[in-house]
Amino acid sequence: MKITMTHGSGGKATSDLIANIFAKHFQNPVLAKMEDSAVVPGAATLAITTDSFVVTPLFFNGGDIGKLAVCGTVNDLAVSGAVPKYLTCGFILEEGAETEDLEKIAVSMAETAEEAGVVIVAGDTKVVEGSGGIYINTSGVGFLADSCCVSAANCAEGDAVLLSGNLGDHHAAILSARMNIANTIQSDCAPLNDMTAALMKSGVRVKAMRDVTRGGLATVLNEFAAASQCCILLNEERIPVSEQVRGFCGILGLDPLYMGNEGKMVAVVAGEDAQKALNCMKNCKYGENAAVIGEVASGEAETVLLNTLIGGIRILTELYGEGLPRIC
């Protein structure tokens, strides 16, 4: 069935759509009450975030817009040191969207939410003119321990920089889908809260964490270097990129350091804890390719340097220009 303006009327067609797709797949006691607000137990300190998802195509190797909408918000909470608890989701549907697609997306959201241990407690649906597009906003609430002090401003000389796995998979998967290039590159789209929780619990002194999304690794580390007024030095040979993505980048002239990811994080930890943090990441479901990729070094503040494969030094700035539009 195709979505029509009637599905956004607020009347019977809307309530049927909600009942048949969203309530059916997101079912939980809070949502089941169908009140105007979700009323849930809380914590003393909350982490709150919101993100909108406009990716095209809606379905791609390794994921879809629904999985992305859950992972993106869960990961923003997780890298803040919080335990993600609740999500809300707003759907903006263009006329002509297929309800079959919408249901597939809802199923994917429900599965991902279950894996991440979050509950979708509120939602909204609107229909606008257009040609079948689907857009999702998710907001998230996480509980934060009082002792948590993870911040981009905490990096200090001697700290180690870790990356949780291969760069560029999501970007390459989306681009492959758009260009009709047949390959087996899968988006890395995944919830990272298991990994952040394991790191925080392990006793590793975690200074800063961030998921490496649009703008890529170089942009995230520039944010750390600016917030902490420090110099970050990376080793190119230690930065994990799969052979296939490396080849893909070579052909299209892309730089993995600036490519978007949806299931990768960077962590800055106390230098002495580097090995422990690496073991911890590697033991997590999405961390098998984790690596220590560099350190916070002495040097000019607000600078990110890369020791290149041939022994040169490259200064890495934040991403300039558009990157790839509508990647998430």
Partner: protein
């Protein structure tokens, strides 16, 4: 490799200016941090090898005009979107309702044309010898399948004439890192007349950091000698891809071409033959060039007369967010490369 690196770092002979002509080389030199591996007596300068940077404003104006015309969609590589014409860029007219689609491959134009026969799709065909065969493929396919709603607006350039211009007018170059991709099509022999005329070494190089270092080493070693060295033999031959050359000749003839900041250089471009004129969206006579900021030194940057950092606008009025000249727009532009990599040398 270590010996070679030591030689390049310790070189204390006469100061040398080595020009890399290709924008992809410029980008890779920055990405590998090569300037820091060289002696202070070896200077790398970027040449006019970024197709977007050398395109005149007349051409952009024609594209924006076409995109606003009823029934026409302009199809382009992404880098072209932000380049300013006299008053506006393709991105600007897109926001005003201009029909513009960005692609990674010109062949996508075939899909668009087949899907909507009521529109004409005009591909912004810029590039050097490497890219021209792709436009040949596009036209070949269009003819083969009877697709008539595709045209190209060409601003196609060829390397030898502009290198000749640089040698003639600049005169401070001691060697050329010759473009690997272009040479794949043209063959390395194409540089022999230039090497002999100006008694200079040319090294055809691949695009890896080590390949670039090997080529620089060869150029320093052969300074002052008329010599063409093919250091990219895995893909480049002396004669090049003759099948591609023949196909290009079938569709295109050499023409005089206008270069941003340089002017018209005789025989430095390619244009569709008369018998294929139906596919041309109006490429002839696009020669006027408008300088937006009188302080912009793009012309000297393009020909290697100055380094990007020597332009008074660099990093102040001219940044990737607010470009005053085309060299700051393209990811292969020398100013863009110097800026985003904070290059000094």
């Amino acid at each position: 490799m270590n010996e070679l690196k030591k030689y390049l770092k310790d070189y204390d002979g006469p100061p040398l200016n080595i020009m890399e002509v290709c924008g992809t080389h410029t980008a890779e030199i920055s990405h590998c941090g090569i300037p820091g591996l060289l002696s202070e007596n070896i200077h790398l300068i970027s040449g006019p090898g970024c197709p977007v940077c050398v395109t005149v404003t007349d051409y952009i104006d024609k594209l924006t005009e076409l995109s606003l015309a009823p029934g026409i969609t302009v199809v382009t590589f992404g880098d072209m979107l932000r380049v300013m014409g006299k008053n506006q860029s393709l991105n600007d007219v897109k926001a005003l309702g201009g029909q513009v689609r960005m692609v990674y491959s010109p062949m996508d134009t075939l899909k668009f044309a087949a899907a909507d026969k009521t529109k004409t799709f005009v591909f912004a065909a810029v590039g050097f010898e490497t890219t021209t065969p792709v436009y040949v493929m596009l036209l070949n396919e269009a003819i083969k399948h009877g697709i008539t709603n595709i045209k190209i607006l060409t601003s196609l350039k060829t390397m030898p004439a502009v290198i000749d211009w640089v040698c003639e007018n600049q005169g401070n170059i001691d060697g050329f890192l010759a473009p690997g991709h272009v040479s794949t099509i043209t063959g390395s022999d194409i540089f022999i007349p230039l090497a002999e005329k100006y008694q200079l070494p040319f090294a055809v190089a691949g695009f890896g950091g080590e390949q670039i270092l090997e080529a620089l080493y060869a150029l320093v070693k052969c300074r002052g000698k008329a010599k063409v060295m093919n250091l990219y033999p895995s893909v480049v031959t002396a004669k090049g891809n003759e099948a591609a050359q023949e196909m290009v000749k079938k569709y295109f003839v050499p023409c005089d071409a206008a270069w941003r900041g340089i002017g018209v250089i005789a025989g430095s471009g390619m244009i569709l033959r008369d018998e294929y004129a139906a596919f041309d969206a109006g490429s002839a006579e696009l020669t006027a060039d408008h300088i937006h900021n009188p302080k912009c030194r793009c012309a000297q940057v393009l020909t290697g007369a100055i380094k990007p950092t020597q332009c008074p606008l660099f990093g102040t009025e001219c940044t990737p967010q607010a470009q005053q000249g085309a060299c700051m727009v393209s990811t292969e532009g020398s100013c863009y490369n110097y800026f985003v990599n904070k290059r000094k040398a």
